[in-house]
């Protein structure tokens, strides 16, 4: 269990004081993947660096299993750090060491005997799918493979917590998904708590069960990923959800504009389906219900989250204004969320 209580971090700059983390309160349960999302400079790295004792909070406390990190002696802190593995955006591997030697580094630091180090490293290399590459150097690997080494290295001391600070931000979408899958697999296999820092909602949706949204050092919204996806409250959260929902938001806007030009009397709505709703023929029933109703399908998509699937459909309703309004009412009555984007 990780607990942030009223955590502040202030940096003294030349003339001013910068508050990088402002009154953060969070609880992370054992074994869960907890996402922290925010744009650059939001204070995400500062927050997790404090969790690893690399920075001390200006005020407030950070506890891991009831132990206040800031109150540990430097020796206790070093042994605590062995229980927290970290992976980084730029991998931070030693280029002078082979893959195997990189993975053995935390074990060397922990004073593990040579044979056990080899054994452990071999297992980890297998786990992250790099068998056969143990004697290569980091410069011979692709970004995704380097991150696999980073993950293996972070797991070497059997940590209880894994912190992933933008671990996929330097990778392409396909490789990102592979690394996220690996993190999920590790979470299930080792029952490890994972703190996933990112600025991509996609990564959160794919892996995390809970999420905290950070802006200007504060957590502005937090909760279950599924809930937040369905019902984002803050402007910034909506933006993140939309970015993920709709990587082609620009295209969509253009299409909507064009469709409205062609059918000025229609109404453009966005439907959101949750869970099993997405498997029911709601839309075809709606068309049958109202005689004059016709529709244009603009865009549709479905997303899997750890809490179930969420679908979205953008439609233009045509027909008498009365039927259009009734159709929206109908959707609400069957618990499909319908947001009017544009009224003709």
């Amino acid at each position: 269990m990780i607990r942030f209580k009223n955590v502040y971090k202030k940096y003294k700059l030349d003339k001013s004081i910068l508050t990088a983390v402002k009154d953060v309160n969070l609880e992370v349960n054992d074994g869960e993947i907890f996402g922290i999302i925010g744009y650059s400079g939001a204070g995400k790295s500062t927050l997790v660096r404090m969790l690893d004792g690399l920075e001390a909070p200006t005020s407030g406390s950070i506890e891991i299993n009831g132990k206040d990190i800031a109150k540990l002696s430097s020796k206790e802190l070093r042994s605590q750090r062995k229980k927290v593995g970290m992976i980084f955006q730029h991998f931070n591997l030693l280029w002078s060491r082979t893959i195997q030697q990189n993975i053995e580094l935390p074990l060397e630091i922990a004073g593990v005997a040579k044979e056990q180090r080899h054994e452990k490293a071999e297992k980890l290399i297998e786990l992250v799918g790099l068998k056969g590459r143990e004697n290569d150097y980091p410069s011979e690997l692709s970004g995704g493979q380097k991150q696999r080494v980073g993950i293996a290295r972070a797991l070497a001391n059997d940590p209880e917590i894994l912190i992933s600070d933008e671990a996929t931000s330097a990778l392409d979408p396909q490789t990102t998904d592979e690394i996220l899958d690996l993190l999920l697999e590790i979470n299930k296999k080792l029952n490890l708590t994972i703190l996933l820092i990112t600025h991509e909602m996609h990564a959160i949706r794919k892996t995390a069960s809970k999420v905290a949204v950070m802006q200007d050092g504060q957590v502005v919204e937090s909760g279950n990923v599924y809930d937040i996806f369905q019902n984002p409250q803050q402007e910034i959260t909506k933006r993140f959800v939309n970015e993920d929902d709709n990587p082609n938001a620009k295209d969509l806007n253009m299409t909507v504009d064009e469709i409205i030009r062609n059918y000025p009397n229609g109404m453009v709505i966005k439907l959101t389906f949750k869970g099993t709703q997405s498997q029911q023929p709601v839309v075809s029933q709606m068309i049958r219900e109202f005689d004059s109703l016709e529709l244009n399908i603009v865009e549709g998509s479905i997303h899997q989250t750890q809490g179930g699937s969420i679908g979205s459909l953008v439609l233009q309703l045509l027909g008498t204004p009365e039927d259009q309004n009734k159709a929206v009412e109908y959707l609400k009555s069957v618990n499909v969320e319908a947001e009017v984007i544009n009224r003709g």
């Binding site: 730029h90 591997l93 060491r97 630091i109 922990a110």
Partner: protein, 230 residues
């Protein structure tokens, strides 16, 4: 030797080859021995400069100030003046002010600060992220030094040492002016003062060959060790 034309460079029977061999050997070991001491001292001083930089403790500030001051002062004194300046110190330390042994203190004192600055710069080139990674594993400062700083900067340390060794070779030649022995001394005494241009030329060629060997060996080592790009 009245013969002062171009052909004066090629009177090879005027060369005392055994003296030449002796002088070559002296140059080689003066350079090698002082380079070893310079490497050790330079790495220690460079490490002190690196570690004390940007640290807030009072002790660290003093260390940084003292080491920087010494390094800057001794790096700025021209070698030929330094060697004269250090004569009394040399006499106390090695018991003599002539011969190859007597050249070592001034060689070390002039080259170590030079190398220390290079070492500091090399350590600063090491990726902060990697240092942070080792700290996040529970590593001590010693772990950072021995598992990150030194191994990650080894190629740079070697190429810096190559450059330093080559300037040491030219310093040994200058030290010849005050009787340190070696090829510089031979070129000065048997070549210049005895008007024997062939000796000067041969000494020059040998020095060039030594420099070339040092450079080649250094480059090969760096190439072998550097795994950054393959």
């Amino acid at each position: 030797m009245a013969n002062q034309g171009i052909q004066s460079y090629f009177q090879f029977n005027n060369v005392n080859w055994s003296a030449m061999r002796q002088a070559t050997w002296e140059t080689v070991w003066m350079t090698a021995l002082s380079m070893i001491i310079v490497a050790v001292l330079g790495i220690i001083l460079g490490l002190l400069l690196f570690e004390s930089r940007n640290k807030s403790g009072f002790g660290w500030k003093i260390i940084n100030w003292v080491v920087s001051f010494l390094v800057n002062v001794f790096r700025s004194i021209p070698f030929i003046i330094l060697i004269v300046l250090l004569l009394p110190f040399t006499k106390d330390l090695v018991g003599t002010i002539i011969g190859p042994k007597a050249a070592i203190p001034s060689l070390v004192i002039s080259a170590a600060p030079f190398y220390a600055r290079m070492v500091e710069a090399n350590f600063r080139e090491v990726d902060d992220g990697v240092i942070e990674a080792v700290k996040s594993m529970g590593g001590t400062n010693w772990d950072v030094i021995f598992k990150v700083l030194l191994p990650e900067s080894t190629p740079a340390l070697i190429s810096g040492a190559t450059v330093t060794a080559i300037s040491l070779i030219s310093y040994t030649a200058m030290a010849g002016a005050i009787g340190s022995g070696g090829l510089g001394y031979l070129a000065y005494l048997d070549g210049f003062q005895s008007n024997n241009n062939t000796v000067t030329l041969v000494a020059t060629v040998i020095i060039l060959i030594i420099v070339l060997i040092v450079q080649t060996v250094g480059d090969l080592l760096v190439k072998k060790i550097d795994k950054r790009t393959l």
